[in-house]
């Protein structure tokens, strides 16, 4: 079992629905977010290119945040999902500093919070909230170890990239390009 997500940048319109859905699903306080939308423009008018993508914790196989956590609060869970155990977190922020993707924030209640791949929903056979809500259906979630999963198939079919691969973190969020 190896959970991963793929976001089709050819379809994403950058509407931020994924951000609101996450916020209401997980009671993420106003002013904070576990996922966010990035828009990158290249070129000079009128020869332009634009990429929209929804970003979040990459649930890296080689996670600097897990490695640097002094209490073991940051850990790998089933399927490689990287989680933070709230009551073990002392809020030191080492993980926030170590994450190349700036995917973590300190919750107003004092612990570090981030995307969980909606492990609670996934455990019940549901899709993560962001994937389930996306109006363009540009997000795919599933098990990389299963060659017949939708995500394995789409990654086999489509050209894709990960973010900051040179950091050596082996991210498990892919972007179809």
């Amino acid at each position: 079992m190896r959970y991963a997500m793929a976001i089709d940048t050819k379809k994403c319109v950058g509407c931020s629905d994924c951000v609101v859905a996450c916020q209401t699903e997980h009671n993420v306080p106003i002013g904070y977010c576990r996922d966010w939308v990035v828009e990158v423009t290249d070129g000079t008018y009128p020869v332009l290119e634009l990429e929209n993508r929804s970003e979040r914790c990459n649930h890296c196989e080689n996670s600097p945040c897990v490695r640097c956590c002094p209490t073991g609060a940051s850990h790998y869970s089933e399927g490689g999902i990287v989680l933070v155990t709230k009551h073990e977190c002392i809020g030191c922020g080492a993980c926030i500093q170590s994450c190349p993707y700036d995917a973590r924030y300190t919750h107003p209640e004092g612990y570090v919070d981030k995307c969980t791949f909606c492990n609670d929903r996934v455990g019940k056979g549901m899709q993560p909230a962001c994937v389930a809500v996306c109006p363009t259906k540009c997000m795919y979630f599933g098990d990389l170890d299963n060659p017949n999963s939708e995500i394995s198939k789409i990654l086999a079919l489509r050209k894709h990239k990960t973010l900051i691969p040179e950091a050596g973190t082996q991210p498990h969020v892919y972007f179809l390009i």
Partner: protein, 743 residues
């Protein structure tokens, strides 16, 4: 766990949780408890609704926790408006409920109009005040002098009230300020309006042409979903826009057209299709009227001619025409939605309709489908009295082809002129912030100052509420019943909105307000039901459903009776036009004294140092309605001014610098707006998202954030055919010495 107790940081959570949980738990009637989403906690209940954040009205489920907290809203799987997926605004609809700035109690004005000073009142006081005034106005001037402006579900009930009083002055800005020209154009061509949701068969199209329409930023849910499906299937998108929109970035062809020249491009495309003989010959021969006149008319509109006007290269015009023809009939030249641009909008939309006719896309798979609807019979009531006059009498011989009421016309008919013997004297305003919605604010305010009564029904304090005599706080769509949504699509659907919990504060649903006012106006026989449940149940039973069934289902799909989603090639089709055919040459327009085939006219260009003010939508906001929603302001809390780097260099503008804007008439924006230097905008125009720059300080998150485009739209180019208010002939320049007070 000890650490938690030690830290004791107050739980912030969602903006209004504290408010919600401090109220008693409202227990919904017993049937709701059974319907829980799989995987949700047992004690979570879900109730059906359809969204009120925009007019797309997607159906969904409101999820409420056992403490009575509205947790989230999700899309309804059976609803063709959303297919189980709400857009960011619909998902963020919870913020509308929790917004602590909501209107909480009825208000009666105590100082002069526009000062926004009120006293709190009881519902009885407010209703008595309104009823007395309305009776007085009806007695003095006739009930026809009462008008309703509405862009919300509550308008159905207030509209009924007005008709019962004897007035037909019921209008929405969504016509003359938005989609009106396309409806008149398509009606005069195909004998049928476009309507909403648009019957565009985007999911099966092979070529989608967007002209100034920015789907994706314009979050019309199922259309965006289908555009995404079309991208998946490899459809070609052609986008015509001076701005590199999100849709443009997904396009095979982006035509960065010079603003205000779209009609020249459209005529040139028509020329190419006809003279290269790429049009659908069989379809045109069998189903259309006036081809020879059209062919003759467009003879000289070559791509070379259009190039000089639009700046689009001739070979691109030919290639894109070829792309459409290759995809034909699975091609959509999209009619757009907000099309009131330059005052010749009906004619521009006629050119769009003609293109679709030449490509044979009307009534064909991948083009436009034939929508199916299911109407609900009205709850029985006595006949409405016949109004002796309407807003139309204020404009003799004008706008004869307007198929709907002009909100701007009712506004103008409120301002006294020597030529008229009667003006509109009272406005009811529901769910539309007219100050920001109508162009030419000075005109709107002058009209308001001539009123004897203005009542505003809304959930939020807005600019318009500040000008009211009486403000009535409507509860949000999450706290009320409304009429059943009966909408047309590939299949007809019914959707129910019911309260997920009791209204917060002293807010009330529109149906109750209208009934109470009706009672005070002696119109009880028009409101012959105890409550709305009784009325809805009666209506639903007439079509084989019931309120209790709809409470369980949320959405009911009604299968099509006939296999007529598209025309069959063998079908003989009689269109609802004078000739019974698709009119390339419009006899309606000819009879009314207008050009029967569109003619290009040049529009004014920006004077030196000025730039055309373009405006549009962001996917997380709807007009001014969402500008204070805590969840949605979290995504976007102010608009920015898009400026091309070349222009920025001339003016020494830096990213994130605040500037004010001055338009061609010397009007200066009330608030400064943040500059966004971007290659995505042409050098001759600037762009901002509509709906910001709120001047009402009661909107704690929206007040003074960004600038209002409406405020700068003082030049209105009226469409003589149907009275649309063209708003894109306004030019702005920068005032750069603004302190960064808003950072």
């Amino acid at each position: 766990m000890k650490r938690r107790e030690f830290i004791k940081i107050s739980s912030i959570g969602l903006g209004g949780i504290a408010v919600a949980s401090s109220l008693y738990r409202w227990v919904p009637s017993d049937i709701f408890g059974k319907y829980t989403e799989s995987g949700e906690k047992e004690d979570n209940v879900r109730t059906p609704t359809y969204c009120e954040i925009c007019f797309w009205q997607c159906a969904g489920w409101v999820h409420t926790t056992s403490e009575g907290r509205i947790k989230k809203i999700t899309g309804h799987d059976d609803d063709p408006h959303c297919n189980g997926r709400l857009c960011p605004r619909g998902t963020g609809g919870v913020g509308m409920f929790y917004d602590e700035d909501r209107l909480k109690t009825p208000l009666i004005r105590t100082k002069e109009r526009g000062k926004d000073v009120f006293r709190e009142a009881t519902w009885d006081e407010a209703f008595d005040y309104i009823a007395e005034k309305l009776k007085d106005i009806a007695a003095k001037h006739g009930p026809e002098c009462i008008a309703l402006f509405t862009h919300g579900s509550g308008g159905k009930f207030f509209g009924h009230l007005l008709k019962a009083m004897g007035s037909d002055n019921i209008g929405a800005p969504s016509y003359a300020q938005c989609r009106g020209p396309r409806e008149v154009a398509f009606y005069s061509t195909f004998g049928s309006i476009i309507g909403s949701p648009e019957p565009t068969d985007i999911r099966d199209t092979r070529c989608l042409v967007l002209i100034g329409s920015h789907l994706g930023e314009n979050m019309h849910n199922s259309q965006v979903q289908e555009m995404s499906d079309a991208i998946d299937k490899g459809a070609a998108i052609i986008t015509v826009d001076p701005r590199y929109s999100i849709a443009a970035s997904k396009s095979k062809f982006w035509l960065p057209i010079k603003p205000a020249t779209d009609l020249a491009l459209l005529l040139s495309w028509i020329h190419v299709l006809i003279y290269e003989e790429w049009y659908d010959k069989d379809y045109v021969e069998r189903r259309t009227f006036g081809f020879e006149q059209l062919k003759n008319h467009v003879k000289d509109f070559t791509p070379e001619w259009a190039h000089g006007i639009t700046t689009i290269e001739p070979h691109i015009i030919r290639e894109t025409a070829r792309e459409m023809a290759t995809a034909s009939p699975a091609v959509i030249v999209h009619p757009g939605r907000h099309v009131t641009w330059y005052g010749d909008d009906t004619q521009r939309m006629r050119a769009v309709a003609i293109l679709n006719a030449l490509l044979g896309s009307w009534g064909r798979r991948g083009g436009f489908f034939n929508p199916e609807s299911q109407s609900l019979p009205k709850f029985p009531h006595p006949e409405y009295p016949k109004p002796k006059r309407t807003w139309r009498d204020a404009f003799p011989g004008k706008y004869v082809l307007a198929g709907d009421v002009l909100a701007s016309g009712m506004c103008d008919a409120t301002i006294p002129t020597p030529a008229r013997d009667c003006e509109i004297k009272a406005w009811l305003v529901n769910g539309t912030n007219l100050i920001e919605t109508l162009p030419n604010r000075k005109n709107t305010l002058e009209a308001i100052q001539n009123l004897e009564l203005m009542v505003v029904v809304d959930t939020m304090p807005m600019e318009i509420t500040g000008w009211a005599d009486v403000v009535l706080p409507e509860c949000t769509y999450l706290e009320r019943y409304d009429m059943v949504r009966a909408s047309a699509h590939r299949e007809a659907t019914l959707a129910l909105r019911m309260p997920a919990r009791e209204p917060l504060y002293d807010s009330k649903p529109a149906w109750w307000m209208a009934k109470e006012l009706g009672h005070r106006l002696g119109l009880d026989e028009y409101f012959n039901y105890e409550n709305i449940e009784e009325m809805l149940d009666w209506q639903l039973k007439q079509v084989g459903s019931s309120l209790s069934e709809m409470q369980k289902l949320g959405v009911k799909r009604i299968p099509r009776q006939y296999d007529d989603l598209y025309f069959r090639d063998s079908d003989e089709v009689e269109f609802n036009t004078n000739s019974g055919k698709i009119e390339l040459y419009s006899s309606d327009l000819a009879n009314a004294g207008f050009d029967p085939i569109p003619v290009y006219t040049a529009h004014p260009e920006p004077p030196p140092n000025f730039y055309r003010l373009n405006y549009g939508r962001a996917p997380m906001h709807t007009f001014t309605r969402t500008a204070n929603n805590p969840n949605l302001t979290d995504l976007m809390d102010e608009n920015t001014l898009w400026v091309n780097p070349k222009v920025a260099k001339i003016w020494d503008l830096k990213n994130n610098q605040y500037v004010k804007l001055k338009n061609q008439d010397g009007v200066v924006s009330s608030f400064a707006i943040k500059v966004r230097v971007t290659e995505r905008i042409r050098h001759d125009s600037v762009y901002m998202v509509h709906g910001f720059g709120h001047s009402n300080p009661k909107l704690s998150r929206a007040h003074g954030r960004g600038a209002s485009d409406s405020e700068l739209i003082t030049n209105v180019m009226l469409d003589p055919i149907m009275g649309g208010t063209g708003m894109r002939g306004n030019f702005v320049t920068f005032i750069t010495n603004v302190e960064e007070v808003q950072a």
